[in-house]
Symmetry: C2
Subunit: 188 residues, 2 copies
Amino acid sequence: MDRFKSLPVNQLHQLLEGGPTLLVATRGFEGITNIMSMSFHMMIERKRGLIGVVIGTDGYSYEALHDTGQCVLAVPTYDMASTVIDIGNCSGRRIDKFERFGLTPILAESVRAPLIAECMVNIECEIFDRRMSGHYDGFIILRALHVWVDADREERRTLHHNGDGSFYADGEYVDLRDRIQLWNKYRK
Amino acid sequence: MDRFKSLPVNQLHQLLEGGPTLLVATRGFEGITNIMSMSFHMMIERKRGLIGVVIGTDGYSYEALHDTGQCVLAVPTYDMASTVIDIGNCSGRRIDKFERFGLTPILAESVRAPLIAECMVNIECEIFDRRMSGHYDGFIILRALHVWVDADREERRTLHHNGDGSFYADGEYVDLRDRIQLWNKYRK
């Protein structure tokens, strides 16, 4: 846990709005952990750290998420691409995905779902709004409670899923930070 | 228009779930077009082509979008990075952004908002659900009506905004299409 540094929730958009593929970790009341892969997510509100996600009603993660109201969103990197796919290929109903994929659960600070030690970023979340869930097959809004970033990690390229089992990894860095004006004003 | 090929709406997720920065084009009933930059978006439902977006109540695009119920989401590429930032630096209340940035509006098939000829992808959209708009500063759900892809374009790297004026462009292609199993089943 020592290597994870806390990032203010109102800077979370810097990690999520570029669309990295995520892992979602849960732990139900009976103590069983699970992980799923997910690319249907967005920043909804920067200040309150609100994130929209689709976590479908037919997956094993759904029940633990909705029973406990909690999950962890973790950002895997380039070196974990096969694991991301394989996690999506099997169900937590039958296997312990932490054990199967050699991932390490870490106790979170404010939620019962575990952080994933191997991931670059871990975001502790609680359900903020589930009113739309029934209309859109599990679309809910999460609120980020804590954001942990592994600052020492060498591989930092995130994965962007093309919806078919292929990804683009982060490539060239385009630095136009000096050029941005109005966005910064809005984002105070 | 000839160079744009139509893509089935149920394959739209392949273009959007990786989180490319978008341009949003509108045309109000008075005929005035506008463009804004946006990275707060997600796929919500693949089959119906539903997309969540935050288009804030204080921007000039908001009014035309909500009056007409229509917009075009366009995917700019690496070569357009400065334009993406500059479009976010000014308001359509004062300038014609198509003219200022040398972009070409094209008549769409089903909406009054224009396609942007210079973009790799154009998605004609109508508002599908605006019930949450008041709770989350302009969060709405769009439905894609037509998806147009410029198949001949050379530069195809999309931009992933880091929330601060910098981007990562699409980098290394990681092909695990043969490895994916369960996701494909869910996505039938």
